[in-house]
């Protein structure tokens, strides 16, 4: 499952980066920083996009936003790896 989610996350980053043109996002690695390179609206935009991709792939709504996603000290969106692991946990918890 984690490979599927990795693919969806990378697709989502590629999609939002069409507008942003952030060079670190052209070929992101697992260690690429995400959260510190974008503002809160972009985080929201990413959440909206990835939630739609997850819903399309898994067939049901999976809540990604929580009270920590925008919290600079706790965000699970720091790096690409963090994002993939967080979303995998969310998908698994939804059964």
């Amino acid at each position: 499952m984690i490979e599927t989610i990795k693919l969806l996350v990378l697709e989502s980053i590629e999609e939002i980066n069409k507008d942003l043109q952030i060079k670190e996002f052209y070929s992101p690695s697992l260690d690429t920083n995400f959260f510190d390179l974008v503002d809160s609206l972009v985080v929201l935009n990413f959440i909206l996009d990835i939630e739609q991709r997850l819903e399309g792939h898994f067939g049901g709504y999976i809540q990604i936003a929580n009270e920590e996603v925008m919290d600079a000290s706790k965000t699970p969106f720091r790096t690409v790896k963090d994002i993939i692991e967080f979303i995998t946990r969310r998908v698994e918890s939804e059964g």
Binding site: L20, S40, L41, V42, N45, L48, A65, M70, D71
Partner: protein, 364 residues
Amino acid sequence: MAKVCFDRAQISAIATTVGDRKLSIDDEKEKFGFDDNSLRRLKKTIGLNSRYVVSEGVCTSDLCYQSAIDIFRRLGIDKKDVEALLFVTQSPDYRAPSTAIIMQERLGLSVDTLAYDINLGCSGFVYGLFTAFSFIQSGLKKVLLLVGDVASSLTGKSDKTLAPLMGDAGSAILIDRVENQKSYFVMHSDGSGYQHLIIPGGACRRPYLRPLLTEDRDIEDISLRSDMDMYMNGGEIFNFSIKVVPKLFQELFEFAGVTEKEIDYFVLHQPNKYILQNISKRLALGEEKIPSKTASVFGNQNSASIPGTINGFLYENFSNLKLKNIFAGFGIGLSWGACYVETNTIYTPQVKTFDRRYYNWSGS
């Protein structure tokens, strides 16, 4: 814990007036310095589209005045029967006195009327309703609640992080005494987050200094705001909203002994499309039960966003049907609250734009 049940108060009428100027975000694109890509993202995620703002010099009290006069005329209210007037706003006519007291005279209410302001924003409708219902429970028979803001005056005019979101609206709500009409309120506040949504200047902690303000303004920097303008930490407010609102509903369901299936409408404060859709999906509510278009059409109306949503999109059903409703407000303070209130064919006209004929105030 502030959980209160009332059994003597009901809403009889809700009317809302919005600013007379409709602004499209497409027309404001250059003013705020949005490129096509960022504008597309804002439209998709936040739902930015249009907003209604007032013309120069029009105050929240003017919008509320038009709304109140509409109710008085339509329902044939004898003004001497109004025993209390509450005005919930962050954009009063003056720093002092309370605008509610000025409105007592302007609306022609008796000098026996109790009147004062409540300084709240997005949670203000629920807090105002709570206070009005408390007065009724205490023995008063008729209370007029005015809520709203000229929110466009609270932000830096070219602050692209806040100004494009804001719409101006003023609502009037009439509350009457009845027998055996139960309602339930759950209220919260958390001052630890006060700095995340704030107008820091202009009061005692950081007085208004005109020369400093003038020098600080840089017309080349379109995002710059002064201490007199509202600041929002969007990420923190987002986290707050996502965290407290679903829990607030669970508290209210348990306290009122109702389930989400029994509720006809969840009318929430309308900050932006994503937050409302997120809450709707999290609670598995149908979109028809939780309206979310207000901010996209009228702008963020602060304390008037709940009545503004009713008069903007639900006025036919509120006028013609008996409904079980949950109202929820959340925002500046940080402050949040929700209530379960039943309504039965109340007077709820379609939202109106401000008519200059109501701007006949002779005050200074």
